[in-house]
């Protein structure tokens, strides 16, 4: 490691707040993106399953094909 101690790593000779906030932002925003994409997928899966359930007792002419 470049730094002598964890404390020095945290402090970075006064530049700590800048560096750590940048890394934090990078991780948080990108993780949020990945998380959001996954939740979208989960939602879509649920929707598709609901579609199957709705159509399992489907009758040819009475079905209202609503979105």
């Amino acid at each position: 490691m470049y730094f002598e101690s964890v404390d020095a790593l945290w402090h970075m000779a006064g530049h700590g707040p800048y560096v750590w906030s940048c890394y934090g932002l990078f991780i948080v925003l990108l993780a949020a993106n990945v998380w959001h994409a996954r939740s979208e997928r989960k939602q879509a899966l649920k929707q598709a399953q609901a579609f199957i359930r709705r159509n399992s007792n489907y009758q040819a002419n009475t079905y209202v094909d609503a979105p």
């Binding site: 490691m1 470049y2 730094f3 790593l9 970075m12 000779a13 530049h15 700590g16 800048y18 560096v19 906030s21 940048c22 890394y23 932002l25 990078f26 991780i27 925003l29 990108l30 949020a32 993106n33 990945v34 959001h36 994409a37 996954r38 979208e40 997928r41 939602q43 879509a44 899966l45 929707q47 598709a48 399953q49 579609f51 199957i52 159509n55």
Partner: protein
Amino acid sequence: MAQFNWRMPRWFHQMGSPKWFYNFGGLLQPWFTLAAFLLLTCGMVWGLAFAPADYQQGNSFRIMYVHVPAAILSQSVFLSMAIAGAIGLIWKMKIAFMVARSCIAIGATFTLIALVTGAIWGKPTWGAYWVWDARLTSTLVLLFLYAGVMALNQAISERQIAGKATAILAIVGTINIPIIKYSVEWWNTLHQSSSFSLTDKPTMPSEMYLPLLLTVLGSYFLFGLVVLTRTRAQILQTQNGASWLMQHKDISGAK
């Protein structure tokens, strides 16, 4: 719309099929996840704790390992979006519009990260969060371009139309990006000889350079991962009722 009828190779044709894309994307996704996670973690830990400090900027220079990938990706993603949009317009391929749509949020995020980390980096190095430097300004404009694409995509409720409109805007925006860049650079150097030139790259030793390579590559994989996930989710949303999908293990298995 231009209606070319170019003969497409078979793989290209396949790519337009939702089924193929969904399945192939499903195969790729775990590998992308792994690659993104490993590369980014290694790169960032290396950059934070192991790379030597810059002799001039000290430790603040470690911001580079997140700033530069974000800045590079912000432009690549916009370009990818425009290319996907153009493919969609020319070959009437719905998957391409979905891919373009998936690019928007992640691209805007990278741009935002580049801006904010750049601004934060500016404080210790330049003494100000913001100056009207050429590169900064053109990144800001790029963020606005993303915001426009996002707003347009949201404002049109019908998917197909939203996809085409977004594609046109992305293409026009891409043509404009070099013009904006050039004009801004030229504008700034006329009025004020910038004391903070970003252009001359310090000749870096490899232990400073390698972590950067890792984070840049990792960011590309992360981008791919998000696009895959989002596009596949959109396929699920729009293919309600397609038999291949209803019998797919993702749906029937998860039930």
